[in-house]
């Protein structure tokens, strides 16, 4: 009986709750090419690491499209905006990312993220307080989703009173990112997404104009101002960068927090340790990024030259999937890789990628997840899973539970 290709097993929703056996099988053929015109799947840690630093690999959306598009990537409907730096090669990528970074982190804004620590803690406290007398919550809808959205709004400089309006546009957009939402899915959702993107774009454009006239201490003001030797971004570039930061800035964090709580509830002894020592959250979050990475694979790469990996020649123009989640559990790199172990000395995971496209928002995501998990551990009395495994989102790339029912005995 012919069995489904591994690429299809990865996308198959039936494997969403536990894709790791498929990845283990995948690693047996470190460079896997299953069908003519299909992608080359790379699954070993060292190969992925090497290709993330390889200047013969392109992230340019145009190159990916020329290579025949990608079944995991049909959702990058840009709604008239130019591609964001995620989908560009140097030198355009470098210029946009440098300008974005000058608004976000060191050396220009070294304390922007760190300074949000207090605010993040307040948001988390508010969300947990709002559980009220309930003894069971959906951790996704009531916590893991609203927390990073609120944070990214504040960071960008979306006025607090606009947050509900803003959320109403972001929700359908995020829903449309699901690769299962292809042409065969209801067109209402697609229409809603397009409409939402347009509305969001117009709203952001209005904000950017305001900030250009009257700058404040927020990311949009800095993006609009564009100080420094690289000059400024065009209005369209400001918008595509903001939308990228907005979407990437929370979709993955939702999954990191949810995967994190799920994993901790499956490892109660570690949850207990975190409760006693919030400092452990640093290592826990790193190990989570290895063990349950929110971005499972990077599908949007093509090679612009023939390259050889482990004796296999990948011809110029081929699509490449870098399966980060498989590399993260590669026994060639990590001892006892299937074990969740925040005490391992050396957690150099691929969770944030590596190379020039390594996660832009990593410092933000780390801090959010650390605060979220340590506060949940501290405040929930006797937390337990309602359902294991929980129901998952359809998305195979940005993988995480759609709902996470957690029951508990009370709040501290």
């Amino acid at each position: 009986m012919p069995h489904a290709s591994i690429a299809r097993q990865i996308t198959d929703y039936a494997n969403r709750a536990d894709p790791y056996p498929v990845y283990e099988e995948l690693r047996r053929t470190p460079v896997l090419h299953e069908e003519e015109g299909g992608p080359y799947l790379i699954s070993s840690y060292y190969d992925i690491k090497a290709l993330l630093h390889d200047p013969r690999i392109s992230s340019d959306a145009a190159n990916v499209a020329a290579a025949g598009g990608d079944e995991l990537d049909r959702t990058e409907e840009t709604g008239g905006l130019p591609p964001s730096f995620l989908r560009l090669d140097p030198p355009e990528h470098d210029r946009l990312r440098r300008i974005a970074n000058s608004a976000f982190g060191p050396p220009h804004r070294p304390r922007r993220i760190e300074n949000m620590r207090g605010e993040m803690r307040e948001i988390v406290t508010g969300l947990i307080d709002a559980f009220g007398d309930a003894r069971q919550v959906d951790l996704v809808d009531q916590f893991a989703y609203p927390f990073p959205v609120t944070v990214i709004c504040r960071l960008l400089g979306v006025p607090r009173e606009d947050e509900p309006r803003f959320r109403a546009w972001v929700d359908p957009l995020v829903a449309s990112l699901d690769p299962a939402a292809g042409p065969d899915r209801d067109t209402d959702a697609q229409k809603a997404a397009r409409e939402a993107r347009m509305q969001l774009g117009m709203y952001l454009a209005g904000l950017v104009e305001e900030r250009t006239r009257e700058p404040r201490d927020d990311l949009l003001s800095d993006l609009a101002a564009g100080r420094g030797p690289d000059g400024s971004l065009s209005m369209m570039e400001v918008l595509s960068t903001s939308v990228l930061l907005l979407i990437a800035g929370h979709e993955t964090t939702v999954n990191l927090i949810t995967n994190g709580m799920l994993t901790l509830l499956r490892h109660p002894e570690i949850l207990q340790r975190l409760r006693e020592d919030p400092g452990l959250s640093v290592n826990i979050v790193e190990e989570l990024l290895r063990y349950e990475p929110p971005v499972q694979l990077v599908p949007q790469r093509t090679c612009i030259a023939d390259i050889e990996v482990r004796g296999v020649t990948i011809p110029k123009g081929s699509r490449i999937w870098l399966v980060l989640a498989a590399g993260n559990r590669d026994p060639e790199r990590f001892k006892d890789p299937q074990r969740f172990d925040p005490d391992r000395g050396d957690i150099q995971h691929l969770g944030f990628g590596s190379g020039i496209h390594s996660c832009f928002g990593a410092p933000l995501a780390r801090l959010e997840a650390q605060i979220a998990l340590s506060e949940l551990a501290r405040r929930l009395e006797g937390p337990r899973l309602v359902e294991d495994p929980p129901p998952y989102r359809r998305n195979a790339v940005l993988r995480g539970p759609r709902h996470l029912g957690v029951a508990f005995d009370g709040l501290r």
Binding site: H53, R56, P90, A305
Partner: protein
């Protein structure tokens, strides 16, 4: 017998480490981590516990870090006897004794030499003694220079545009101090990175307001009546008034204390094999004397087995760990030190990083980015192989080129890369100066094939 000796050594032997800096500390930690339970002594001529030097020419000069707080973090307890503030003055290989400046002697069963390098002083002693003439190597040097820069001198004069000199110039400009840099070669960093990249560094300096003078040497430092430096005379007969002069002429290996000991030690360092064991002057390897860090010269398989001297932070750590491991294990468990040379620097807001051995390169190709934009990756080739790469504000790609060097990938680089510009399609001569001329700061020195090489001038195997 031999096995018994190693077991005995691990249990109750005496190990002496001469040199209490980065390499010495990391070696001591590795010895303990790998189970050495005997007596451990660290000898250092500076009065401080080991501290980190890279910040001294960067953050410390800008007042962003204190020169007195760059101690190296201890990875573990090392339970050692510290002999700080006392230099080693001699070595008796037969009696296995290290002589100290205070007349004391320390006996060892195994010895690690990690005495490093010191700043090359201004050769005219009287001029070097003028107030305001500075070196930059130690914590005290950095504290003194910081104090002088803070006082707002009319002009700072830097002799030598290697990495250290260029970093000092960068700090001066960041503090808005007028600075003149004099360089014998045609551009800064030429010894380390060649003339093509040096030209970029030159533009970087002049655009940032440095008064850069190339193809000149300093002929005299002139003081005032009370012995403060006042002016610098140059070989083009010009005179520059300055109240701070930073002598940045590279380094000297601390090997004089070994003169007459019989070890293969000289101005180029102490020759050792890939396992970090020192050679004696006859080219015979010793078995109880090991070497690590800046003072070592060791053969490297990737670079034709020539002896390499590396003044690199990462090399000091890796070589110390390997030396320590090899000191207390059986022959078959020993590891070779095959570190990929790598160093970094930052100046005028640009991050510079290199892997491999650029001075070995005959040709250079800009495979990504552009020299004019000062954001690029340059790849060095030697006889059809990739031997090094350098990046300006493009660090994240270097890991790829490191892999290319390791596998001896072909040069020129013919495959396309993202951001390849028309200027990067063809290789150009890398523009290194004649290697028989001493330069002040190549950071990586190829020093030929002879372990007993004690000459200062050498002729590399290049036709």
């Amino acid at each position: 017998m031999v096995a018994d000796y190693v077991e005995w050594l691990r249990r109750e032997g005496r190990i002496v480490i001469v040199g209490a800096s980065l390499a010495g500390l990391r070696a001591a930690e590795t010895l303990r981590a790998e189970g050495f339970a005997g007596e451990l002594t660290l000898v250092g001529d500076e009065p401080h516990e080991p501290y980190d030097r890279p910040p001294l020419s960067k953050a410390v000069l800008l007042g962003k870090a204190s020169p007195h707080h760059t101690e190296l973090p201890h990875r573990r307890e090392i339970d050692a006897k510290w002999r700080l503030g006392v230099a080693a003055t001699g070595l008796d290989l037969t009696a296995k004794r290290v002589r100290l400046a205070d007349g004391d002697e320390v006996e060892y069963d195994r010895l690690l030499i990690a005495t490093g390098v010191r700043a090359r002083p201004w050769p005219k002693e009287e001029e070097a003694r003028l107030d305001g003439v500075c070196l930059l190597r130690t914590r005290e040097d950095a504290a003194d220079l910081y104090r002088r820069l803070r006082a707002g001198p009319r002009r700072v004069f830097v002799i030598g545009a290697g990495f250290a000199g260029s970093e000092v110039a960068s700090a001066c400009r960041e503090m808005n101090l007028p600075v003149t840099v004099a360089e014998r070669a045609g551009a800064p960093l030429v010894g380390a990175l060649g003339g093509v990249v040096g030209a970029v560094a030159a533009d970087l300096q002049t655009e940032n307001g440095v008064d850069l003078r190339t193809h000149v040497t300093v002929t005299a430092l002139v003081g005032d009546a009370v012995g403060r430096v006042r002016a610098v005379h140059l070989s083009d007969e010009s005179v520059v008034e300055a109240d701070v002069v930073v002598v940045s002429l590279g380094s000297l290996r601390n090997t004089e204390w070994l003169t007459g000991s019989g070890l293969g030690a000289g101005p180029r360092g102490i020759a050792c094999d890939a396992g970090c064991r020192a050679f004696d002057f006859r080219g015979i390897v010793t078995d109880d004397v090991f070497v690590a860090g800046d003072v070592a010269r060791s053969p490297h398989a990737l670079f034709g087995y020539q002896f390499l001297s590396l003044e690199h932070w990462g090399n000091a750590v890796a070589q110390a760990e390997t030396a320590a491991h090899n000191m207390i294990c059986h022959g078959a468990d020993r590891r070779p030190h095959l570190w990929m040379p790598a160093f970094w620097s930052s100046m005028f807001g640009v991050n510079i990083k290199s892997v491999g051995v650029p001075p070995m390169g005959e040709q250079l190709m800009i495979t990504q980015g552009s020299l004019a934009e000062r954001r690029f990756v340059g790849v060095y080739g030697y006889q059809g192989r990739v031997v090094a790469a350098v990046s300006f504000d493009n660090t994240r790609w270097l890991e790829f080129y490191r892999g290319q060097i390791e596998r001896g990938a072909p040069f020129p680089v013919e495959y396309p890369t993202v951001d390849r510009r028309p200027e990067g399609r063809r290789p150009v001569p890398a523009g290194f100066p004649d290697p028989s001329l001493p330069t002040h700061g190549p950071m990586v020195t190829l020093s030929g094939y002879s372990p007993a090489d004690q000459q200062l001038v050498f002729h590399p195997a290049r036709h």
